[in-house]
């Protein structure tokens, strides 16, 4: 159960809408059943009162939607704002997008909402909530309730377990997982780090695009390249795994990179500080050599 | 007898010395405290091993005059480590098949009351083939 009720949030948003301070509200909208909650933009108070919800099914990270929402003419024309509700982990994504200049900060009114963890339709908590990394909202204009703390989570345990496997076991593990991929692109489409104007996988000029042949480069390398593209930018929000229809633990790829970067180049949490410099666009003169970095964790050390 | 080529190769292998690094400056011999005791001097060890002329060294008392003080190693500007060649040649002599450096008959004359029994045993193990 969430500590904050839908009502509380509706009241906040409605007031802002009524005063004209914001022209729209980005939130969660209820569906036919209690579990099919979808992200939605509300522009009138009635719609907001009737359809806005904040329940245990509001796992969706709304920060990415701001990239396109704030580009819309109504926000461009004058300095009108959109109000967005962000859970603590979502604020990291928002901050990262600010770092990358993807959102105009002055067009957004951020309301940070505490979160007690979200569940899927079977009632099971999402992995990203089980291994929640932070209850602390890192950026907001308004905070509902009390701000929490960064959590000393066990999110790297599973990565360590895989690292400890033999190469054969690791390969078998990933082959089993990745062979289920149907290339639906859900992971990419939901990822708040994947906001490129044009994705390399959709761009014939990139040399990576190749849709027709299933045995193509893109197919095999998609997840590796994607993990690499978001390396240092991924806040570990866990949306990729949450939306994967094939239940592939995609977060384990991103987390491996986060873990490696933390170990090799010092702790870095993308999105924790706006404007911070990610490890892969930085260097130190005495970094470890690639050969030393490989297989540092696990039984190959 | 020693096979001429093999012995050079073995000396180089045992010592781990690359004699070709020597630039013949003579600083090893200049540093050697046993120089005047030696028939062949440190720089000659390096030169002779490099040119495969190890035989005279094997038969020279010079190898026992070296104090293994490592002055040559310390001073050599090229990192040649001449003393390791001296030591390798000593080992080569010790390991020589069929060469008895210590015969039972010789022992009584050499015995000193203070010499421990164990030393004699190990001397036989080492020097008698």
């Amino acid at each position: 159960m969430q500590a904050i009720s839908s009502r509380t949030l509706v009241d906040i948003a409605a007031k802002k809408l009524a005063s004209g301070e914001v022209s729209a509200v980005l939130g969660w909208k209820k569906g036919l059943f209690n579990y099919d909650v979808t992200p939605a933009v509300f522009t009138d108070e009635k719609d907001l009162a009737e359809n806005f919800v904040y329940t245990d099914f509001c796992a969706a990270n709304l920060s990415k939607y701001l990239v396109n929402e704030t580009k819309k003419p109504e926000y461009r024309a004058d300095n009108r704002k959109i109000l967005v509700f962000l859970k603590p982990c979502d604020t990291y994504s928002f901050n990262q997008l600010l770092t990358e200049h993807r959102i105009h900060r002055n067009r957004v009114y951020v309301v940070a909402v505490p979160c007690n963890g979200m569940i899927d339709l079977t009632g099971a908590p999402y992995e990203k909530c089980v291994n929640c990394k932070s209850k602390k909202a890192v950026v907001y204009d308004e905070l509902v309730g009390e701000n929490g703390e960064v959590i000393d989570s066990n999110r790297f345990d599973e990565v360590e377990r895989i690292e400890a496997m033999s190469a054969e076991e690791r390969f078998a593990f990933w082959q089993n997982e990745l062979s289920r991929c149907i290339r639906c692109n859900a992971c990419r489409n939901v990822c708040p780090a994947c906001t490129c104007e044009k994705c390399v996988f959709d761009n014939p000029a990139s040399g990576l695009e190749n849709k027709a042949i299933s045995d193509s480069f893109e197919e095999k390398m998609f997840h590796i390249i994607r993990a690499f593209h978001v390396a240092g930018r991924c806040t570990d929000c866990g949306e990729c795994s949450r939306v994967c229809p094939q239940h592939i633990p995609l977060h384990l790829l991103n987390r491996k990179l986060i873990k490696d970067m933390n170990e090799a180049y010092g702790e870095y949490q993308a999105g924790a500080v706006e404007g911070s410099r990610a490890p892969l666009v930085n260097y130190s003169e005495n970094d470890i050599e690639p050969a030393e970095a490989v297989g540092k964790g696990g039984n190959n050390a | 007898m020693h096979n001429k080529d093999n012995v050079t190769e073995r000396v180089l292998r045992i010592s781990g010395v690359n004699a070709r690094r020597c630039m013949k400056c003579g600083k090893c011999s200049a540093s050697c405290p046993s120089y005047d005791e030696m028939e062949y001097h440190p720089h000659q060890f390096v030169y002779m091993v490099e040119s495969g002329d190890v035989e005279p060294l094997l038969n020279s008392r010079s190898i026992y005059k070296c104090l293994t003080c490592f002055a040559c190693v310390d001073r050599c500007p090229r990192g040649v480590e001449p003393v390791k060649l001296v030591e390798a040649i000593r080992l080569e002599v010790i390991r020589e098949q069929g060469a008895n450096h210590l015969r039972a008959d010789d022992v009584p004359a050499k015995i000193d009351e203070d010499v421990p029994q164990q030393l004699l045993v190990s001397a036989f193990r080492k020097y008698a083939k």
Partner: protein, 663 residues
């Protein structure tokens, strides 16, 4: 449609010996885009180039592949050939089938197969090449010379002589460098000061030359033709424009116990000092580390005696910024520290000295007024031992230097000769490993030391020097006599290896110029471009590039100057067109590229885009400064969207090469 010509070079038998060239030219005939393919003995020859030009014209070629030696060798040649035939020079690709094929593989079949693959990769790439036009940038017609030794002075004089303004930045209070400290110069034995000081005066009086003495380069930005340099003019607490150099202050200063670095610390100077009589500029400088006034606020003697009112205890470091078209590094050398050579007892006895100390000892302006006296007791020495190669040719990096310091053989012969000339009673021994005296009149000079002056040259090294009483026991080997020698010496002179000045490394970083492992500046080409750094617009003069004597230094200084003049004579520079380019439509404006760019070539602009709904969207996008970008490509990988690409090495081009190789 691309129309590609392939030209396979035999390079005589260099390529044809291991690669069946006709098989190669035949095998690629049906590759995509190829309309012409041939082979010839020497493609780089005039007739070879004619074949290329004719084929370009006859077959309307849009791109060519030359299968030849390394592109580092002849890419420029073939680009010019293409341009002469009206083809954009960047439509040329080289398949390196010599250095990376015929020369490293022995077997004909292997070599031929690999050559075919390399050619196919080049064809695949050239299919995707697009014509490139280099950008232009202006040239600031002023040069900067860093270092005011003989190298820097000569370079500056030659540049100024051609009519271009030039600034010298020297970290010491005077120009002159090491040469000013020397006594006589080999092989002619003319006095160093007599030939150097006129040049110093020339530099000071030349209206094209500005001397920033007691100054250091703080920061370098920009690129060839337009370097913005920050120079720190260190506070000397003396107003340069007022000081007449009368030297009264340097006589009256009560702080007398300052080691005199000009005399290698063998005597003392005052806290306010002029390094030597012929210093340029002849201006006093206060040594802040020793000045009582600056340390405690009590003294002020120099200020009181200065009739010109030049003393200014409140002077502060001043930073000036200047723009230069070219920069010459002339930072020179220093003898290495003798700390690691305990066997020579340098730190135990004052009578074990380095050769540079010996120079001061024999110099009429030195601490002993030119008399050869032992530093310890001022007595006349009877036996002097010179030790060569102290730290030179030394494989142990923590002790010495692996290279030959080059100048020691000659100056030691000079020292030995000078002693024997003035003091025939002194026995002089020189212990050497090899005597290396190539150079005009050099070997004759060394032979004179032996034959006319009776210097004892002994092939062998000194192993140990032990001070005992007032003698130095020298234990050495004589390799030719096969003897160990024991000499009682009064003075031992060590020919210390030389190393680049410590400031060179940080300067190289500022200039983005490369260095070798010994911290000598690297040449753009060791033989063909010996006075240029690989970094455009940076030139090398003197011992900062490698050990060298005065004649060599002066020649190199002149050569560097002529390269600078060649650059400054240009009004515009033609850039490298193989640089980064951002596709605005795809750019996210995320700043990743900006963060990795080593040159600060990327900025962001707000760009208006027409949207499908006819509204205008302003988006932040990257923009590459074409004059600043050097084309490394770091940004292309940092860019998540693939908006940033590198002309001449596009992602598609490289991938096409990968594909061709892996096929």
């Amino acid at each position: 449609m691309p129309r590609i010509g392939v030209f396979v070079c035999w390079c005589g038998s260099n390529i044809a010996g291991t690669v069946d060239v006709s098989t190669v030219s035949e095998a690629v005939k049906n590759e995509q885009g190829v309309v012409f393919s041939t082979n010839y003995q020497y493609m780089c020859s005039q007739s070879g180039q004619d074949i290329i030009k004719n084929a370009i014209r006859k077959h309307n070629l849009t791109g060519i592949v030359v299968c030849s030696c390394s592109p580092r060798m002849h890419e420029a040649t073939f680009r010019k050939t293409a341009a002469a035939a009206g083809l954009n020079p960047y439509m040329v690709e080289i398949a390196n089938i010599r250095e990376q094929c015929s020369w490293v593989h022995k077997d004909m079949l292997t070599g031929t197969q690999k050559a075919i693959v390399l050619t196919k990769a080049a064809i695949a790439k050239v299919n995707l090449n697009s014509p490139l036009t280099p950008g232009e940038s202006p040239v600031t017609k002023r040069a900067l010379v860093i270092g005011g030794g003989i190298a820097g002075i000569q370079t500056a004089l030659d540049i100024a002589d051609a009519g271009f303004p030039v600034d010298i930045v020297e970290t010491k209070p005077t120009i002159g460098g090491k040469m000013a400290q020397l006594d006589k110069t080999f092989p002619t034995l003319d006095c160093a000061a007599c030939i150097l000081t006129p040049k110093m005066v020339d530099a000071a009086q030349n209206d094209k030359i500005r001397i920033y003495s007691y100054s250091e380069v703080e920061e370098v930005n920009g690129f060839v033709g337009n370097f913005d340099v920050k120079i720190r003019r260190k506070a000397r607490y003396v107003k340069e424009e007022l000081c007449t150099g009368c030297g009264l202050c340097t006589e009256k200063c009560p702080q007398k116990k300052v080691p005199n670095e000009f005399n290698m610390g063998m005597d003392n100077r005052r806290a306010i000092y002029i390094p030597f009589a012929q210093a340029v500029p002849k201006v006093a400088t206060i040594d802040a580390d020793y000045c009582t006034m600056l340390k405690t606020g009590k003294c002020g003697v120099c200020s009181k005696v200065c009739t010109a009112g030049a003393i200014d205890y409140k002077q502060k470091d001043e930073i000036i910024t200047e723009r230069y078209g070219a920069i010459v590094a002339a930072t020179g050398f220093n003898p290495i520290s003798m700390d690691k050579f305990d066997e020579y007892a340098y730190s135990q006895s004052k009578d074990v000295i380095t050769s540079l100390e010996f120079e001061r000892l024999t110099n009429a302006a030195g601490p002993t007024a030119g008399k050869l006296l032992r530093p310890s007791d001022g007595k006349h020495p009877h036996t002097v031992v010179f030790v060569q190669c102290v730290g030179s040719r030394c494989a142990a990096a923590e002790k010495g230097k692996e290279y030959c310091s080059k100048i020691c053989c000659m100056y030691t012969a000079k020292h030995a000769m000078l002693i024997r000339d003035k003091y025939p009673d002194v026995e002089v021994y020189v212990f050497y490993i090899d005597v290396r005296t190539p150079g005009k009149n050099f070997d004759e000079f060394y032979r004179r030391a032996v034959e006319e002056y009776g210097v004892h040259y002994i092939k062998g090294m000194v192993g140990k020097v032990s001070p005992e009483g007032d003698v130095l026991k020298v234990q050495a080997s004589d390799l030719i006599a096969n003897k160990q020698l024991h000499i009682d010496a009064d003075l031992v002179v060590l020919a210390a290896a030389i190393e680049p000045d410590k400031s060179a490394r940080s300067l190289a970083t500022m200039l983005t110029a490369s260095m070798d492992t010994n911290d000598f500046f690297t040449e753009a080409h060791p033989k063909l471009r010996p006075v240029e750094s690989p970094t455009a617009g940076v030139f090398l003069s003197g011992a900062c590039q490698g050990p060298k004597d005065i004649p060599e230094t002066v020649s190199q200084a002149g050569a560097a100057a002529s390269k600078v003049i060649g650059l400054l004579a240009k009004d515009k520079l033609i850039g490298n067109p193989c640089i980064a380019h951002s596709d605005e439509m795809m750019c996210n404006g995320c700043s990743s590229c900006e963060r990795v760019c080593p040159y600060g070539a990327i900025t962001y602009v707000n760009k208006e885009f027409r949207m499908p709904d006819r509204t205008t969207l302003v988006r932040r996008v990257a923009s590459v400064n074409e004059a600043v970008c050097q084309g490394c490509g770091a940004c292309t990988v940092a860019c998540p969207s693939g908006a940033m690409d590198l002309r001449g090495f596009t992602a598609q081009q490289i991938m096409s090469e990968v594909d061709a190789i892996c096929k």
